[in-house]
Symmetry: C2
Subunit: 526 residues, 2 copies
């Protein structure tokens, strides 16, 4: 029997607040610190490791977190979710993104079909289509091969797929699996579409229109923009465009597209990288086998997330440490810091994933709650960030919990040895150094050069960034966000907060405004 | 006589805390709201406007802020700075970035030269060099024109120049001033340099090595990386590389470079976009005239920042509203939201500018302070952000103050009319709608669809984004950050917080570590 209770109604949460906080700087110094690195670690899928030695936790705090995980029934709630319960209470929908990459529990039927079969069918259809494009069987009007794929989508149809494409682009080039360049058009700003169209060979480009509802303003506008550009070059838009949408959307069965691939209402935009939304562009760019490996990595990580023992479940552990930092220690933001240039847009994706899922003020029943929920998420790749905002992270007046990601090997494996070390070694040395600098600090009589330490971080370490480890990494964060939503008793799967802006923008365009909105519209010459 | 006092020692700050806070949602509703839009606005340079109607201020609060500005002697402190005082107390240096674009006060002499003349001389040398490159007088070994310029630098040598390049790239293409493609190598991750080198025509590329000290680890490593690649193609690196550095650095007078252009110790990295650091790459990419127009815009905005009347000084006003939000209202972060795809990396630059300048815990005399300083800065362009993290901004448990930027016209001026409006109109309608949605909210009996409002924002509005407006925009934020540093009585011009990480990374590479750092090094196979 599942109980959906607010966090502050749980006795284990009250207990957690009474546990003595850790002096992190002291705990991470000397042999004790060395021991923590070996002890506070848990295996993820695909050879990744989640190491939380430099987080402000000890056995007592972890014990209290385990009790919280149990009382909040996190494992049971995840089980409900993957077995097909209506966990998205706001929109009254199932939540099935994990099912796009594997079956964790019972068969899930909805809309009269077995959903796992439906997702596999779409993957096969995409694979078949991509193979034909790569073979030149599906080609432009002159019979020439498509060389570029352009995703038209915004939010979850853009950030996740774009981050995944950038994460694997150089890996694919290195391993010989690179098939087509990908570009992305997202913003309604006409300069976005104009610039992308100006930078590609339109006659050899295949466009993917991605909108679950088929009604997204930006995406439909950019579709028209692209169709206009194709026509100006004497090309037939219907021969250059496919759709990824839900089967019930107005663009699902349209003669405007070469073909259409389907997702459904049970996949939220920000959770859609492993659905057809990510599948079409990634299969076209790198081949279906690469996309399948990416799904395998995500599925393996999902499997680990079903583990009931908190210390063996990296996503649940990461989630609970985050709740401890947010609700007990009172830190309002978290930085994502991947030491991998290929993950340059991964923080932007996690920013949406986390903030759109858990930036809520009411519980899943629509009742107000008396505690804070999702933090601000931001980040840039290291070592770049070190030369930017790390000053504040080290010496600012607020503490920002950190999540590092690092790999032992580079993707391209092209490197130089300068002053006795390779660039990759320098990169890894920097992330190791930062963890300890943040945790331990260093005393200096000149307070301007003093480092207090006590700034918590975790690190996910892997051998290299490839389709499988990327899939595992993505699923880890998706599941972390899900577990935090369970703890906060909120619905992580709707986004009613985006509606008011849409409504008012429509009013502006229809010139049906009053008061301040009319004045702002005048200032902007609308 | 200037008094450098801590914020909490100022009586006007104590008074500010006693002024009744504004009910923003109430104030922005109806005719009152419309009146505020017309009233709470101030002209910036180059036709830009800073509108703060949707900030949580009224005449009483603004009056208190004006007293604070006066007691904190903000105008006088800026005057000290531009007249050449040692404002960077930590490093005992003058702070002269405004002098790269104009002379606001007395002649400033240092290192035995008039610094304004020195900066102008460097601009002329760069202009002359760029013109010769564009004319093919300076060419590769085969006498072929250089087509691409690649900046090798990190932090301030990367983020600012990169953001400015992206901001003007499409404008330059549209106006016929585009001369050369620019690319950027920053991260010590070898995949960064490898990917950039793999994407350009190395034989026709000119590289700019940018490091003030000439000792930045990442930059020297990437220099070696690039030299290696040039040699492998049978090219002479010294014929393909110029340097931007201080005259006293080890790379200033080296046979490794075609030429060298100089900055000095009085320009912090994050303030260096208008120095030779931005000058070389922007003059090569767009021509010296475009760079000169960019400087003119910045100079015009600097001039406005000398205004003593708070309500006529947009940067000072923006700074003080930010201090009110941070120290009185208690908001720990601020989002930068440009409704212009061309400003896609402007928030990343401001993140460094603000967080590295004001993320400090001691005052300018190295004494601890009893109040919070610089906030977390993050942001992405609109409308993209609306489909990402805006959910939390609208309905999350924390309030995040916002800074919008919007332009009436697009840069490329290529647009389509869909459903009665252009994309540019849709873009502008969205930013107008968001301001009002955040400020006023909208009641709904279903609390999941309820918007409390009361979320403050400002907007900078311009006709279009061009070199002059970009310069004004940049200077506005530089001066805002400077004024906030004055209010907080901190040194905004050093960055001691980045040192410990550097020291520990060197220890890792030298295998001179102990405790936790040794264990992390092992995990990362260093």
């Amino acid at each position: 029997m599942i109980n959906w209770k607010n966090l502050n109604e749980l006795s284990s949460y009250q207990e957690l607040g009474k546990v003595k906080p850790l002096d992190l700087a002291e705990a991470m110094t000397g042999q004790k610190g060395a021991d923590r690195v070996g002890k506070y670690t848990v295996d993820m899928a695909e050879g990744l490791t989640y190491n939380y030695a430099a987080k402000a936790v000890d056995d007592d705090i972890l014990g209290a977190l385990a009790k919280l995980a149990e009382e909040a029934q996190l494992a049971e709630k995840f089980e409900e979710l993957y077995n097909g319960a209506v966990v998205n209470t706001g929109e009254k929908r199932l939540v099935l993104h994990q099912l796009t990459r594997g079956q964790l529990g019972n068969a899930v039927e909805a809309d009269g079909t077995d959903k796992r079969s439906f997702y596999i069918e779409q993957q096969k259809r995409i694979a078949d289509f991509a193979n034909k494009v790569h073979a030149g069987e599906i080609a432009n009007a002159k019979g020439e091969k498509f060389t570029t794929v352009v995703q038209i989508g915004i939010g979850g149809s853009d950030l996740g797929p774009r981050a995944m494409y950038l994460a694997l682009e150089n890996w694919a080039k290195k391993t010989g699996t690179f098939k087509m360049n990908a570009a992305f058009i997202s913003n309604v700003d006409p300069d976005d579409a104009s610039a992308v169209l100006g930078s590609i060979d339109v006659a050899h480009s295949l466009f993917i229109l991605v909108s679950k509802s088929g009604t997204t303003l930006e995406t439909l506008t950019n579709q028209a923009f692209v169709m206009d550009a194709l026509k100006k070059e004497g090309l037939d838009p219907a021969k250059h465009m496919i759709a990824v949408t839900s089967e019930t959307s107005p663009i699902a069965h349209s003669a405007d597209f070469l073909d259409a691939f389907y997702m459904d209402d049970y996949i939220g935009g920000r959770y859609s990288s492993t659905s057809a939304v990510g599948g079409a562009v990634l299969s076209l760019a790198f081949g279906p086998e690469v996309f399948a490996a990416f799904l395998d990595g995500a599925a393996a990580e999902d499997k680990l997330s079903t583990e009931k023992d908190l210390l063996k479940n990296p996503a649940m552990l990461d989630a609970l440490i985050g709740v401890y930092e947010r609700n007990i220690l009172g830190f309002p933001s978290t930085a994502i810091l991947p030491y991998s240039q290929a993950l340059s847009r991964f923080p932007a994706h996690l920013q949406q994933l986390d903030m759109e899922s858990n930036g809520k003020s009411v519980n899943r029943f629509g009742e107000p709650i008396g505690y804070v929920t999702g933090p601000i998420i931001f980040g840039e790749p290291g070592t770049n960030g070190q030369h930017s905002f790390y000053q504040l992270l080290h010496q600012g007046t607020d503490i920002v919990p950190l999540q590092f990601v690092g790999f032992r090997k580079s993707q391209i494996q092209n490197d130089v040895d300068i002053q006795g070390s390779t660039s990759q070694q320098k990169l890894c040395a920097n992330v190791a150094a930062q963890i300890v600098a943040f945790a331990c600090g260093k005393e200096n009589a000149d307070l301007n050069k003093n480092f207090k330490g006590g700034r918590p971080s975790s690190i996910i370490i892997g051998d290299d960034l490839n389709p499988k480890t990327l899939g595992a990494l993505l699923a880890h964060f998706e599941n972390k966000v899900m577990f935090q939503g369970f703890v906060w008793n909120i619905n992580s799967f709707d986004q009613e907060g985006v509606q008011l802006g849409k409504t008012l923008a429509k009013a502006v365009l229809a010139h049906e405004t009053e008061g301040a909105l009319t004045e702002y519209s005048k200032l902007l010459n609308i």
